[in-house]
């Protein structure tokens, strides 16, 4: 009822002058950027990424250079043995935790985002197809999805990663290919409802091919929320990578990733908690910043699309 009603109201609404001729997308970004949360998120994210990209290079500290004599130094805020070169302390082999975390962040971001990207591509494509065509296609694709869904990631991991020395691409592949079904399901359900809508029919009548409809009509409509959901998975994938490291299928040393830093640091949790904890904190910051931006963006979209002025 609410919907009908509001529409009745908004009928004669005069268009706010400033909105004239401004494309929707730009309006959304404006709205998002207007909120301080978005700015904070953006700030944190930019800082982190910038640090990850430049600090190691500026500081000239080599994340893989061992300095055994200076191992397990505490960070500056506790303990007294810390050095300027390692404000966040050092790990079990005396490498600077700050640089390692930042470089780790680099790789983890790479892994997290490209994994999720892979998941989205595969999952959404399959979901889209089976939701759009329904019938046999749907049946087959969904059975495959369920099958995939019911295989524990870990087993897929050992088989695929067992093949060769686990490299970052291999890991991305494993994680991505083992986690897409969730998205297939979500997309499918959304598409199924949307596809029944009349505007889809209208497009068909105007002569649009199915592909055209999926790409230009449905995808733009259903992707954003799905992508928004997937932000959590970026983090989950980074964690999964650490689980792989934990059973010896992770990225090989000396390359630092959050995964293997945490996995190796685990042993020292009792007397050098910072090794395993720092990446977690960085991870949390990254995630929160991305999440903040995502959330505000989503809110902005809903506001604009929800017809608020």
């Amino acid at each position: 009822m609410a919907a009908v009603d509001l529409n009745e109201i908004t009928v004669a609404q005069p268009l706010a002058a400033e909105r004239r001729g401004v494309s929707i997308t730009r309006r959304i970004w404006r709205a998002a950027f207007a909120s301080y949360e978005f700015r904070i998120g953006l700030a944190i994210f930019v800082i982190l990424v910038a640090a990850a990209l430049f600090y190691p290079w500026l500081s000239g500290i080599n994340p893989t250079k061992l300095n055994v004599s200076a191992k397990l130094n505490a960070p500056w805020f506790i303990g007294d043995k810390w050095m300027w070169s390692a404000p966040l302390g050092t790990d079990q082999l005396g490498r600077d935790m700050l640089v390692r975390s930042l470089v780790g962040l680099r790789y983890s971001l790479l892994i997290g985002f490209s994994t999720v990207a892979l998941m989205l591509v595969v999952g959404c494509t399959i979901g889209m197809l089976s939701g759009y065509y329904g019938g046999k296609v749907d049946l087959i694709l969904m059975r495959i999805t369920d099958a995939q869904l019911s295989i524990p990631m870990i087993i897929l991991a050992i088989t695929v990663l067992g093949v060769s020395r686990p490299t970052i691409p291999a890991i991305i592949l494993v994680l991505g290919l083992s986690s897409w079904p969730v998205y297939a399901r979500v997309t499918r359900s959304v598409v199924m409802t949307e596809r029944k809508q009349e505007y889809v029919r209208a497009a068909q009548v105007s002569g649009a091919s199915n592909l055209w409809i999926m790409l230009f009509l449905l995808a733009p409509l259903i992707m954003p929320p799905v992508i928004f959901i997937s932000v959590l998975d970026v983090a989950r994938m980074m964690i999964f990578e650490s689980i792989l490291g934990f059973i010896g299928l992770g990225v090989q040393p000396p390359t630092p990733t959050f995964g293997n830093i945490i996995a190796d640091g685990r042993k020292y949790l009792l007397n050098a908690w910072w090794i395993a904890t720092m990446p977690g904190i960085f991870l949390c910051f990254t995630l929160t910043s991305v999440n903040l931006m995502g959330a505000t963006l989503e809110r902005a979209r809903n506001r604009i699309y929800g017809g608020a002025l």
Binding site: I144, T159, L232, I239, L283
Partner: protein, 326 residues
């Protein structure tokens, strides 16, 4: 009648799924380098012996033949025998060639049978905890979108999701088991041992659920019958708990059904950390020892469980919401 036919349909589909899984895993495991026989016999074993054992175990036949043999076994409830484990069920390793002299090996099924209940108990408790957390945090968030409870939920889930489960496991064990001595942590000698691992799993599980619940709840709160309910004279509590949550719980259920398979990943690590004698520990050892029959067995069983759980989920969902035609 309707129910029966539903079950018939879903179970037949489930069988297909399980078959696919088995086929996939089976072939994958066969293409992994690293000859299982060498693992069984131990590295010191001479090639001749390896070949001999392999032959006698039929591991040199074409994959399809092996698969056929395996499946015929499976349908008769015979999942084969562990490569490395003795009947005693001990997790074994080390190297000893002339493996032929090993004590008779454990049946995969019995191994799983012993550990599965433990894990189910753990998983069930974890899910319960997760749901409690989810409802405590997610409901207010869903009722007050974009206000502080929503923010809270948002930050909490951000933090939860960035906690590596083994990190959390150790920290909790240190805190509650060593420092405070409230809960036992390592091994299993009673129900109490399930609590800590379950909490860790719950925390790993909850972020997605929280987000889902708050999302769908706020969506439901938008729907006409909620505001109309007020006009019909229903109290807010009744509307929220009697109707809104009821509707919002359906997508939550489905998500939960999907998450189950993800749960095993967590169970694995957590059981290893807490030395909890469940399927997860079995799996990780099977993986570490490349105990292929065991891995296969576990894969089949887990996917079967997954199928069953999802059938149950759909049943519950369709009793909650009759429109979901089952």
């Amino acid at each position: 009648m309707a129910l029966l036919s539903f079950l018939a349909r879903r179970i037949s589909q489930g069988v297909v799924i399980i078959f696919l899984v088995t086929l996939l895993i089976f072939t994958l495991l066969r293409v992994v380098p690293g000859d299982p026989v060498r693992l069984m016999a131990g590295g010191m074993a001479p090639e001749a012996l390896i070949e001999e054992i392999a032959k006698e175990m039929g591991l040199r036949d074409p994959i399809l033949v092996q698969f056929g043999r395996y499946m015929t076994g499976v349908v008769q409830g015979d999942f084969g025998q562990s490569f490395t484990r003795p009947a005693s069920g001990a997790s074994t390793g080390g190297t000893g060639f002339g493996d032929s002299s090993r004590g008779d090996r454990a049946d995969v099924l019995t191994l799983i049978g012993d550990t599965l209940p433990m894990t189910l108990q753990l998983a069930a408790l974890a899910v319960i905890f997760a749901l409690i957390i989810t409802f405590l945090i997610g409901t207010p968030a869903g009722l007050a979108p974009n206000r502080w409870p929503d923010r809270l939920a948002f930050y909490v889930s951000s933090i939860f999701v960035s906690l590596p489960n083994f990190w959390l496991g150790i920290v909790l064990a240190l805190l509650f088991s060593v420092k405070l001595g409230w809960l036992p942590a390592i091994g299993y000698k009673g129900f109490a041992y399930t609590i800590l691992p379950a909490i860790v799993l719950a925390i790993e599980l909850s972020p997605v659920l929280i987000r889902n619940l708050s999302g769908s709840l706020s969506a439901v709160m938008q729907s006409p019958f909620i505001s109309f309910g007020r006009v019909r004279g229903l109290g807010r509590r009744r509307i929220v708990y009697g109707h809104a949550l009821r509707n919002a719980s359906v997508p939550l259920l489905n998500l939960l059904g999907i998450q189950i398979s993800g749960l095993l990943g967590g169970v694995l690590v957590v059981e290893f950390i807490f030395d909890y004698p469940g399927l997860g520990l079995l799996t990780i050892n099977a993986v570490l020892q490349r105990d292929f029959p065991l891995i296969q067995g576990i894969a089949i069983i887990t996917s079967a469980i997954f199928v069953l759980i999802n059938i149950v989920v759909d049943l519950i969902a369709s009793t909650i919401d009759p429109r979901l035609e089952y």
